[in-house]
Symmetry: C2
Subunit: 309 residues, 2 copies
Amino acid sequence: MSLLTVGSVAFDAIETPFGKTDKIIGGAGTYIALAASFYNNEQSIVSVVGEDFPRAILDELEAKNVNLDGLQIKAGEKTFFWSGKYHNDMNSRDTLVTELNVLEHFDPIIPESYQGVEYLMLGNLSPQVQAQVIERLDTRPKLIAMDTMNFWMDIALDDLKKTISMVDILIINDEEARQLSGEYSLVKASKVIRAMGPKYLIIKKGEHGALLFHHDSVFYAPALPLEEVFDPTGAGDTFAGGFMGFIASTGDVSFENMKRAIINGSALASFCVEKFGTERLMTISREDLDSRIDEFVALTNFDMVHVIG
Amino acid sequence: MSLLTVGSVAFDAIETPFGKTDKIIGGAGTYIALAASFYNNEQSIVSVVGEDFPRAILDELEAKNVNLDGLQIKAGEKTFFWSGKYHNDMNSRDTLVTELNVLEHFDPIIPESYQGVEYLMLGNLSPQVQAQVIERLDTRPKLIAMDTMNFWMDIALDDLKKTISMVDILIINDEEARQLSGEYSLVKASKVIRAMGPKYLIIKKGEHGALLFHHDSVFYAPALPLEEVFDPTGAGDTFAGGFMGFIASTGDVSFENMKRAIINGSALASFCVEKFGTERLMTISREDLDSRIDEFVALTNFDMVHVIG
């Protein structure tokens, strides 16, 4: 099926307890598209970069069958740049530098060839831009998923709530769910947030896995316990990309299939954190992914049938 | 089969954001025995109380088929008392009062009728007392599980390591695993701790579930997402009691069966936190437990078999 990703294509500079990088390739849109490229879809992206962005990376995305007609390259402008430093526990980080550059006045133009797209993944971006994309599509996609972050809750809560009301699935982390809902209990938070519009809510809990809420049903997918989280950057976007890539490729938006999609997203995210940036995602094969999914099955699988004395 | 629990039978006074109690019944041994009583075993306990402990509670334990021959009642002495206050997030607490009383010079006497017991659960107690119990059993039980806490790591690390080297399963929480191993990653911590002796390690992560490590295998059981944790006191002991009660009743110490035992322990712990102290455990039925276990199956169950396009 067809999957459109909206999200930043950017430069990152990252410092973790294990080392630091110069400017490397990052951005929510990049991670989402790379993760989704493991599934058989007509993929496309709406984004913007400056003239400083390397052509070779765009070629790599095209080689992975990502249509770049909607990726604007702004002459004379610079690509979005983010720099951050992770603390020792890897669960918190400080932003060192944010240069919006081309993102400051981003007008998400939808190429005519993108019209009719069936699945839409809105990566973390200004909620106004996210809403514009939905409004500019002639027909509403079969499923719209959306990511966001605390930053937009702080400075653009009304716009954010409007955009949230337009989507089917919101994918955020536990801290964001608590801030958005004002509830500490994630069960209570899920009710408050779903009352804002989305029928489905996925709460990512990092090393503690992810929860999927829908009506009265809950699914809890664990994360793979890892020896080391080398760099968490992009793990959430990779999760979302794997989730939507799987859903789109199967064309099945049932709760049961969303469980499988979450396991796929979790497996891809578990690779993402093994190296800096997109490095690991660029090198793993479909076979690597399948064998990681088998690890998830082994990790969580149990059979209650046992004769009790 | 036969299951011996060693652990405190005590008074607690608890304050949570939802309210506070006067002196109520508590103690690791009490929670473990109550949780294990949902399974068909010859249960017994080694513990000590003062003459202030209510006979009615001992009668309730006996009514649940817990043999109390090993429970000493010290004339003229007072029962162990603990008082604590939970913070708003329920993940941390302050100890307000600890009165050791009868526990200060506790000599764990093993009645002759307890010899030959097949399963042993050592609740959190001084590691010297835990070791004494193992040494005083004529034949080594088929499976020995042990709980402990940070306190013993701070003041009696050598004794603690000696006792840990004598058991098959250590059951501790994530914070304790990190302190005991000096490793932040739970995968690394599990290796360090299992090198101390236990072939199995269970790391409890509260609302984030529990991990079971053995050789190269890992099992991750989620916790049931709850609207409200009313009082976490005793949840870890209840988990351990459900775990060992199930294992003993099935007589099966395989890794596969330990997974089932963890789900049983998690289900019982999810009841424990719904009310103050032992109140909820005292009132639920076997049917309540079975239906909670079904909820865990629904929560975690997924089937990866799906034709991908």
